[in-house]
C-alpha cells in the first residue's frame, strides 16, 4: 500500500553549540539534541512521538517548523525543502504547518486579548498581501474558531490570565487553526493539564482532525496519551528514532529494548494489572548528549548489549510491515556480516 507522504525529514540534525570565552566566543562542543532523524508524516494520520526529557522530541518539531534552523538535513513538505527556502517563500509555505505548544501559560502573550491572539496569524499574512480577507471576515473567523474549540465568543476581549489552563490551551489551538493549516505539530499539548481536562483537550484534537482533515505530529512523554491519539508511533532516545511502527503493533509487540523498558515502566491505573506484571527497570540515567557517539546510543543502559553494539550505530531497518527498529538484535545474519 502506498501512502501519501505529506511531510518528510531526511537525516535531520540539530546541534546547539557550547561556547566558551567572554568576548571572543569559540565553539568548544555541541549538544546533539537531534542527531539524524528520518520521519515521514502521512496525509491525515497522527504520528505520535514519545521519549523521555532531553531525547529531542520538541527540538525535532521546532526544526521541522523552522523555528530552529537545522544544522543539517532536509525537511520536505510536498516536494519542497523548507531549509532551502528564502524567508518570504518560507512564510508562504509555513502557513500550512502550525504549532501548539506545551505551556499554555507561556505561549500566549499576556498583554494581548484573546481576539488579538487568535487574529495575529491572519494579520501577519494579510499585511504581506498573502491573505485576502476584510476586517468583518476576520472577526467572524475568530468568533467561529472560538466557538469551535469550545470558548464562548463573548470572552474575546479577555486576557489570558482570566482563563484556566485548559481554556488557554483551547485558545492556543484556535490560533493554530486560524490559517487553515494542513499539519499541526503539537508539542506536549496536554502535559500541563489535569487529567479531567486532559481528556477534554484530547477529544477536541480528535474532533478537529476529522473536521478539518488535519495531519498531526503529536509529541508527549505519556505513553497512554500517545497510544490514544496516534496511528503510528515513533520512539526517540538521545536524538535518534529507535523504533517506529503503527500504534497497535508497537503496543502489542515492542521490539527495541528501550521501547520495552519504557512500556513496562509506565504505570497502569489498575491495581490488579499493576501487581501482577513484571517491570523492566533500567539501570542508570540518560547520558548527556554532548559527545559524539560511535556505538548504539542506548548501549550503556541496554540489558541485551552485545559487542557489535559498542562500535556501530544500528540503522533503522524495516523488520515487519510498517515496523522499523534500530537494534542489532533484529538484524539478519547477512546484515550483520556486512558490518565487519
Amino acid at each position: 500500500m502506498k501512502h501519501d507522504v505529506l511531510l518528510e525529514t531526511k537525516d535531520l540534525k540539530m546541534h546547539f553549540p557550547i561556547e566558551d570565552g567572554i568576548i571572543f566566543k569559540r565553539k568548544v562542543g555541541a549538544i546533539r539534541a537531534v542527531d539524524g532523524v528520518d520521519l515521514t508524516l502521512r496525509k491525515g494520520e497522527t504520528l505520535g512521538v514519545v521519549g523521555e526529557s532531553g531525547c529531542g522530541k520538541s527540538t525535532t518539531a521546532r526544526a521541522i517548523s523552522q523555528l530552529y534552523q537545522p544544522t543539517s538535513g532536509e525537511v520536505i513538505f510536498e516536494g519542497t525543502d523548507l531549509t532551502k527556502l528564502s524567508q518570504f517563500e518560507l512564510l508562504k509555505t509555513r502557513r500550512q504547518i502550525q504549532m501548539v505548544f506545551q505551556d499554555p501559560y507561556a505561549s500566549l502573550n499576556p498583554r494581548m486579548v484573546v481576539n488579538d491572539i487568535i487574529r495575529e496569524p491572519l494579520d501577519i499574512y494579510r499585511n504581506r498581501r498573502l491573505l485576502d480577507m476584510d476586517r468583518k471576515e476576520m472577526e467572524a473567523k475568530v468568533e467561529n474558531l472560538m466557538e469551535r474549540v469550545g470558548l464562548s465568543r463573548y470572552f474575546k476581549n479577555r486576557y489570558p490570565h482570566e482563563f484556566s489552563g485548559g481554556q488557554r490551551q483551547r485558545i492556543g489551538i484556535a490560533r493554530s487553526l486560524a490559517l487553515n493549516p494542513r499539519v499541526i505539530l503539537a508539542d506536549e499539548p496536554v502535559s500541563a493539564l489535569d487529567v479531567s481536562i486532559q481528556a477534554q483537550i484530547l477529544n477536541l484534537f480528535l474532533e478537529l482532525q476529522e473536521e478539518f482533515d488535519l495531519t498531526y505530529m503529536f509529541i508527549a512523554h505519556d505513553l497512554s496519551v500517545i497510544e490514544y491519539v496516534s496511528n503510528r508511533v515513533a520512539v526517540m532516545y538521545l536524538g535518534k528514532v529507535v523504533e517506529i511502527a503503527d500504534s497497535k503493533s508497537l503496543y502489542k509487540q515492542p521490539l527495541h529494548p528501550y521501547t520495552k523498558a519504557l512500556f513496562s515502566a509506565a504505570p497502569i491505573p489498575d491495581p490488579k494489572v499493576e501487581r501482577t506484571r513484571k517491570r523492566i527497570v533500567l539501570e542508570g540515567d540518560v547520558p548527556a548528549p554532548d559527545q559524539e557517539r560511535f556505538g548504539c546510543y542506548f548501549y550503556d543502559r541496554c540489558p541485551h548489549r552485545m559487542d557489535v553494539c559498542k562500535k556501530n550505530v544500528p540503522e533503522l531497518l524495516e523488520v515487519d510491515t510498517d515496523h522499523k527498529v534500530a537494534c542489532y538484535l533484529y538484524f539478519t545474519q547477512e546484515q550483520k556480516s556486512r558490518l565487519n
Partner: protein, 327 residues
C-alpha cells in the same frame, strides 16, 4: 483495628486569607493511617492534597495560611497543639517528607554529607563519625553508586533521579514512622519513576514505615498503595481499598477520573469520556456539593447541602463516600 492506627487526622481545616476572600484549601479532612499501611491521596491541582500534608507538620506559611481547626494525632499526641520546641522532635524524625522537586528541597550550598549528617546527629544523637557511616549506609540502600565518594558532592552534581534517591535516603535515615511523599516522581521520566517507586516500596517495607503518597497519577498509586483517598475542592470525597476503589468507584468524580485516563493496556477505540467543566474556585464556596456543576447525576439537594459521609463495610475494611446518591 483502631489500636493499630499510628496517625489520625480529624476534621482538619486550613484556610488562606486573600484579598478576594477566604480560600478554604482544606475543609474538614479526616483520615487515619495504620502501621506499615500505605495511603494514596489523589486529586487534581488545587484539590488541597499538598496543603493537607503540609498541615500535618505545620509547614503552612502563616500568614496568609492558618490551620483553623481539627486535630492531627501521632500515636495519640496532637501535633497541632505541641509547642514549637517539641515539634522539632517530630519533623524529620517521626514524620518525614519528600517533595516534588528534589532540586529545590536540597540546599544547593551544602554538600550532601553536611545535610544528612546534621539530621542524623540531631535526631539520633550519634557522633559525627557514626552519623557519616550511617548516611553512607542509607545512600547505599537507595542504590546510589559509590556512596563513600558521592556523599561529598553538591546537589547540582546529581541528576534528578539521583537527587530524589538522596532525598529518600535522608528522609528514611531516622527511621520515621510515617513518610509523606508529595508527588515524588512527577518531575521524573517514566523509566526513572519506575526505579524510584521500587526503592520507596522496598525500603518502607523493610523499615516498617507507613507511607502517605500524594499524586495526581492514578497509575502510580494503583501499584503502590493499600488504600486510596480521592480529594476534590478541599475534602476527601471517597476513600476505599485500592482494589475496591478501582473496581467499583462510587463517587461520580472518582468514576470520571478513572474513565478519563487513557489505558495503555486496553485499546478501546472509543472516545475518551471526560468530565465537563473545570474545578471550582475555592474562594467562599457555598455549603453545597462542590462537584455538582460537573456531575452527571446532579439532583436538587446537591445544590443546597454538602452530603454526609456514608460508610459501608467491604470485607475487612470500611469504605466511605460523600455523595447524595448514597445517603
Amino acid at each position: 483495628m483502631s489500636e493499630e492506627k499510628i496517625l489520625q487526622v480529624e476534621d482538619l481545616k486550613t484556610y488562606f486569607r486573600t484579598d478576594e476572600g477566604t480560600v478554604k484549601a482544606v475543609d474538614g479532612v479526616s483520615f487515619s493511617l495504620g502501621r506499615k499501611e500505605s495511603l494514596g491521596i489523589v486529586g487534581e491541582s488545587g484539590s488541597g492534597k499538598s496543603v493537607t500534608n503540609q498541615s500535618l507538620l505545620r509547614l503552612i506559611p502563616s500568614p496568609p495560611g492558618k490551620i483553623v481547626g481539627g486535630s492531627v494525632k501521632l500515636e495519640g499526641v496532637d501535633i497541632l497543639k505541641l509547642p514549637k520546641s517539641k515539634l522539632r522532635n517530630i519533623r524529620g524524625n517521626k514524620i518525614s517528607m519528600i517533595f516534588q522537586d528534589p532540586m529545590t528541597s536540597l540546599n544547593p550550598f551544602l554538600k550532601i554529607s553536611t545535610q544528612m549528617i546534621e539530621t542524623i546527629m540531631l535526631h539520633q544523637h550519634e557522633d559525627k563519625k557514626t552519623a557519616r557511616e550511617h548516611s553512607i549506609e542509607m545512600l547505599r540502600m537507595v542504590g546510589l553508586p559509590k556512596p563513600e565518594r558521592r556523599i561529598d558532592n553538591y546537589p547540582h552534581q546529581f541528576s534528578g533521579g539521583m537527587r530524589q534517591r538522596v532525598m529518600i535516603a535522608m528522609a528514611l535515615s531516622c527511621k520515621p514512622q510515617v513518610l509523606i511523599a508529595d508527588e515524588p516522581t512527577t518531575a521524573l521520566d517514566v523509566t526513572i519513576q519506575a526505579q524510584i517507586l521500587e526503592i520507596m516500596q522496598d525500603l518502607s517495607d523493610r523499615l516498617g514505615t507507613a507511607l502517605i503518597m500524594i499524586t495526581h497519577d492514578l497509575g502510580v498509586v494503583a501499584g503502590l498503595c493499600d488504600r486510596i483517598a480521592v480529594m476534590y475542592a478541599g475534602r476527601i470525597v471517597e476513600e476505599a481499598d485500592t482494589e475496591v476503589l478501582f473496581e467499583e468507584p462510587q463517587h461520580p468524580y472518582t468514576q470520571g477520573l478513572i474513565s478519563s485516563v487513557p489505558r495503555l493496556d486496553k485499546k478501546t477505540g472509543k472516545k475518551l469520556s471526560s468530565i465537563p467543566g473545570q474545578p471550582p474556585n475555592l474562594i467562599d464556596l457555598p455549603d453545597c456539593c462542590p462537584f455538582y456543576p460537573r456531575c452527571p447525576h446532579v439532583m436538587d439537594i446537591c445544590k443546597n447541602k454538602y452530603p454526609n459521609e456514608v460508610k459501608t463495610e467491604v470485607g475487612s475494611s470500611t469504605r466511605r463516600v460523600s455523595c447524595w446518591l448514597y445517603s
